[in-house]
């Protein structure tokens, strides 16, 4: 009997990788890609598969580790989100030239919207720049089925293949048939070939020529040719001949809407599963057969640019398709109606309701750290970084968020910018970075700051996990995903080794002591012979099930001293503290309060008190 299961897109991708006989997968967590490796870890445990899986320190490292496995003839995957590929762009560009041996698939998840990213960038365009083929699935089921094809293509042409789902594929769920999984066996066999694997510029030119040859052949690969989904439509006797060329989840939206509007029987729709390289034969035949071609894709005009035709082809370059924001089905409907010359849809306007802004969890140690930073440096500059703690922006303690690791380099940049200002007038600079982000990209930035003579306070928010993306382990964890013990890296030792003279660890739940420590750190930055001062705010993430029971739970109560000033609600913003109206005392929601007890230090009137504590 076959069983059907409802799978998350990322779970379907994980299963697709196993079904492709992939022997290694490496990743750095990032929404919307995080669940792929997490699922692989689970499958490996349940099925006892001989896979090497790792949460690498960053995406560049993940790419390179998996690539070497492919050089040794074994199928491999590197998994990341789109901005992670920026970090791994260096090996990608080079690997396109060297090519691969065992099938190599780069899974990179884009986030049109953006829902959980700093940009809406289209990785397919980076694939185009690197000159590697790109596959673009439109549903979880298709994603799973497309992966074996991707590996086969990669192996046949010895080329890295990019596999690019988007948020609406990664975080969609769909029911599909399950098959028994079987382990992949493949023996490592690295064949030396310095002219290829270690090519000098002279040989790189040769490799580039070979790459171009591969791409030309791949573009016309029959198994990946664009498909007409609704054949049998006759040419209209008069008027223009229309067609639609689409890829990814926008195609899925368009199909449903076209059936709804009665357009499915009228306008031919072509699905492109490989948007780059777009087949020149396909392009020419489309341009010969039709007068108007609507291109639907996310999020940048990748197929559209390859059409190289401004008269017939409509999309982002002609303003027919909006150039920013997710192509939600309602937007796709508007575009389709205009293209097919139908009357506009009756508008259902979304409300102007601002929505609730995300906030740090009740009892989150970051909230205490940020509150202390504001208190210690009321006029400071606060460069910050990527993670849950980006939400410190709500508390007014985050001024800049650029990309992974930038908090430290930007703190250094701000220091140099204010260097000519007299010391008393120069603002305090206090950067914040999480432990996982520090390992990912913070270390080179810290070394640079130290050797360039910068002075600022760096607070490393060490909750001993990668919280935002679902609590993946960091190099401070001390064991691999298999449970094999490995050295547990110490952040204080690393910081010292980077040349920092002031390194201290404190628990941010001890708000007063922590605030004093920040002030002491600032004095170090201003003292003779001082430099960068690092304060490590160490307290496990409250939501991390792997590290529980490390604090004394305070039973909190609001006493009669509450003046209903609302300071704790507005400036501390713990979700468990709720205002009950203007003259009413605040309330502590027992369902949300974790008993961290930090609000005791926040209320200036002593109205929030611990009535008892349980370890």
């Amino acid at each position: 009997m076959t069983t059907r299961k409802i799978l998350l897109g990322n779970e379907a991708i994980a299963i697709g990788l196993v079904e492709s006989a992939c022997t290694m997968a490496t990743s750095y967590p990032g929404t919307p890609a995080s669940e792929v490796l997490g699922t692989l870890v689970q499958i490996k445990k349940e099925e006892g598969l001989p896979l090497h899986l790792e949460w690498s320190i960053n995406e560049k490292v993940a790419f390179e580790v998996a690539l070497a496995n492919s050089f040794a003839g074994r199928r491999s995957a590197a998994i990341m989100k789109q901005v992670g590929l920026n970090v791994a762009a260096d090996p990608l560009m080079s690997a396109a030239y060297t090519g691969v041996k065992g099938g190599f698939v780069l899974v990179v998840a884009d986030d049109p919207g953006p829902h959980s990213s700093q940009t809406e960038q289209d990785s397919r365009l980076l694939g185009m720049m690197a000159k590697v083929p790109v596959l673009d699935p439109s549903s979880p089921m298709e994603a799973r089925d497309m992966l074996p094809q991707g590996f086969a293509l990669s192996e046949r042409f010895e080329i890295p293949v990019m596999f690019r789902p988007t948020t609406r594929v990664c975080h969609a769920r769909q029911d599909m048939e399950m098959k028994p999984l079987s382990p992949a066996h493949s023996i490592a066999q690295f064949e030396k070939n310095p002219a290829r694997w270690a090519a000098t510029p002279k040989f790189r030119l040769v490799l580039h020529g070979q790459l171009n040859g591969k791409l030309a052949e791949i573009a016309e690969e029959p198994s990946l040719a664009p498909k007409l989904l609704n054949p049998g439509i006759s040419t209209p006797p008069h008027g223009s001949r229309l067609c639609i060329v689409a890829s990814g989840v926008v195609l899925a939206h368009a199909m449903e809407i076209m059936r709804d509007l009665g357009l499915w029987e009228k306008i031919p729709v072509y699905q492109v599963t490989m948007p780059f390289p777009l087949s020149p034969k396909f392009r020419d035949s489309i341009l010969a057969q039709y007068d108007k071609v609507l291109v639907l894709e996310e999020s940048y005009p990748v197929m559209e640019l390859q059409f190289q035709n401004r008269e017939k082809v409509q999309g982002r370059t002609t303003g027919t398709v909006p150039s920013a924001g997710e192509l939600l089905p309602e937007r796709v409907e508007d575009i389709l109606r205009t293209f097919a010359q139908l009357p506009p849809a009756p508008r259902v306007e979304p409300p102007t309701f601002p929505g609730r802004r995300p906030t740090l969890c009740a009892g989150c140690p970051h909230r205490a750290s940020f509150y202390a930073i504001r208190k210690a440096f009321p006029k400071g500059i606060y460069p910050s970084d990527i993670g849950c703690y980006t939400l410190g922006v709500n508390l007014g303690a985050v001024d800049t968020v650029l990309c992974m690791g930038a908090s430290i380099s930007q703190a250094a940049g701000f220091y140099h910018a204010y260097r000519s200002v007299p010391q008393e007038e120069a603002p305090a600079i206090c950067a914040t970075i999480g432990d996982s982000t520090f390992f990912h990209a913070g270390i080179p930035a810290l070394i640079n700051a130290v050797v360039q003579g910068a002075r600022f306070v760096l607070t490393i928010l060490d909750n001993s996990t990668t919280a935002m993306t679902g609590h993946q382990p960091t190099p401070g964890f001390g064991s691999t995903l298999d449970g094999t013990p490995v050295p547990q890296l110490s952040i204080p030792e690393l910081v010292k080794a980077c040349g920092v003279g002031f390194v201290e660890v404190e628990d941010p739940y001890k708000l007063d002591a922590f605030t004093d420590l920040l002030k002491k750190a600032d004095l170090h930055t201003r003292s003779e012979g001082g430099g960068v001062a690092v304060v490590i705010a160490r307290r496990p993430c409250i939501m991390d099930r792997n590290q529980r029971g490390s604090w004394v739970r305070q039973e909190m109560a609001v006493n009669e001293k509450c003046k209903a000033c609302g300071l704790c609600v507005k400036q501390f913003e713990c979700p468990a503290l709720q205002s009950q109206g203007e003259k009413e005392p605040v309330r502590i929601d027992p369902a949300l309060c974790t008993g961290c007890g930090v609000c005791r230090f926040v209320c200036p009137h002593g109205a929030l008190e611990a009535v008892s504590s349980t370890p």
Binding site: S139, R168, M255, P351, L360, P590
Partner: protein, 176 residues
Amino acid sequence: MQQIIVSGVGGQGVLFITKLLAETALEQGYSVLISETHGMAQRGGNVISHLKIADGGSVEGMSSPLVRPGKADVLLALHPDAVKAHGFYLKPDGTVISNVPDSEGKHSLNASRIAEDLGAPIAANLVLLGFAVGSGALFCGAEQLEGTLRRLGGKRLELSLKAFRAGAGEALKSRD
């Protein structure tokens, strides 16, 4: 085909409710397509799930994981904000089942209070789900949904079942 929106704030169990509905649908031979919120918004922001249920094997007419505005048959509003935030997904004759402090009309309920009274404030979502299925708003019956809850319920199953049944009971009351 039934199109359902489940809306709430991060931490309320929107994903769990969606899962219960989807697994029940699958059990009954339907096909499902879902879109979920992950990432930043899960930290206390507005969270929404889109759930489409269609006859088994019929991908015809169902390919997009998202519900369009004005097309949802049912909106399960786990939080008082949810109607304001996501009410526009509902079709004109669609049903809103909402968790509000002061229940008005037969489709709203103070599920949070009922859950608190049961000693399980976290189970307000299940109270509301029980209420929704009890009022006949969903594609399935209460027994089928309860069966799924039993299968997936986890550690606090007894409390969860209590909450679910309390909600279903409220629906019967408001029907009479």
